[in-house]
Symmetry: C2
Subunit: 151 residues, 2 copies
DNA sequence: TGACTCATGTCAGCATTCTGACATAGCGTG
DNA sequence: CACGCTATGTCAGAATGCTGACATGAGTCA
């Protein structure tokens, strides 16, 4: 290519690689979660609640990287199907703390096993040193992108 | 957490970190592309065409991590607005090779500058060694997830 | 107390993407 | 040539997520 610095070389672009990896991860997760009738966002919500019971709709949304509105729709479905519960009244403010039901916990257990296999597949391809480097790299990227600095 | 191995610790999950980084990258790209009236997929398509002129709809879709159908909708818009051109008849098979118009090239130039600032922000937070490690890590993840091995 | 700011839950409409389906073109095999 | 297989472009409907908007509750400050 005689483009030189006229374009961003996708072959060596960190951003492109990041998107490619993320896309592959999502596809792999969808593949193992589909047999369980669960989507990635669905699973993310349950896993978040398992680790931090009482999270509100907005907090879950931030944790799953979707909007409050999208998470609200999901939560209503999960509530209707008996996977999570929310009090009718907010104990403080407007935030409704959500919690997993026993059914939700059982459903999550299967999903976690499936997702863990994907996670292990990723980790298995790297040495301990490489894993540590991967963590550092990703955290560094997240940190640098968090800063406003865009304009 | 007394959960032990009952769940995937999101704080230390490589997959979660990957999703977080990818989400941050997308948000940063959207932020710099919005003033230019361009979406990430929009930009990806143009950048792909700049580096590899003549790519077909399906090839562009794979490169931008969307379906053929979605890319087709985008391409029709880009064609209508004069950013890309496609022959009316396929020179071979059914694949229609797409190419940037001068207008498309001009539009891309601004977008590339904007996206480059994001890329540099990520790279700037890492040493050369860390950058190399990041490339290796991501490529390793992509490779391991590509393998079917899911079930 | 009152005004202001911020975060939250929720409703409605819109945009984007995906899934499903179909016809067509090339390629290999017999 | 006929057949099956794969890849492609395209249309239509459905699912998913997002933006915009509103009312409510808590904290801050005068």
């Amino acid at each position: 290519m005689s483009q030189g610095d006229a374009g961003i070389d996708l072959e060596t672009s960190l951003g492109y690689l990041l998107k490619e990896a993320s896309s592959a991860l999502r596809a792999a997760m969808e593949a193992v979660l589909r047999p369980l009738g669960m989507t990635v966002t669905h699973y993310s919500c349950l896993e978040l609640l398992a680790q931090r019971p009482g999270l509100s709709n907005s907090e879950l949304a931030r944790g799953a990287f979707v909007t409050r509105q999208s998470m609200n729709v999901l939560l209503q479905t999960l509530e209707k199907d008996g996977y999570v519960t929310r009090p009718a009244e907010a104990p403080v403010g407007k935030a409704l703390p959500a919690r997993l039901t026993p059914r939700g916990r059982r459903s999550l257990a299967k999903a976690t096993a499936a997702v863990r296999s994907v996670e292990l597949r990723m980790l298995g391809a790297m040495s301990e040193t490489e894993q540590a480097a991967a963590y550092r790299s990703l955290k560094s990227m997240i940190g640098s992108l968090r800063e406003p600095g865009g304009g």
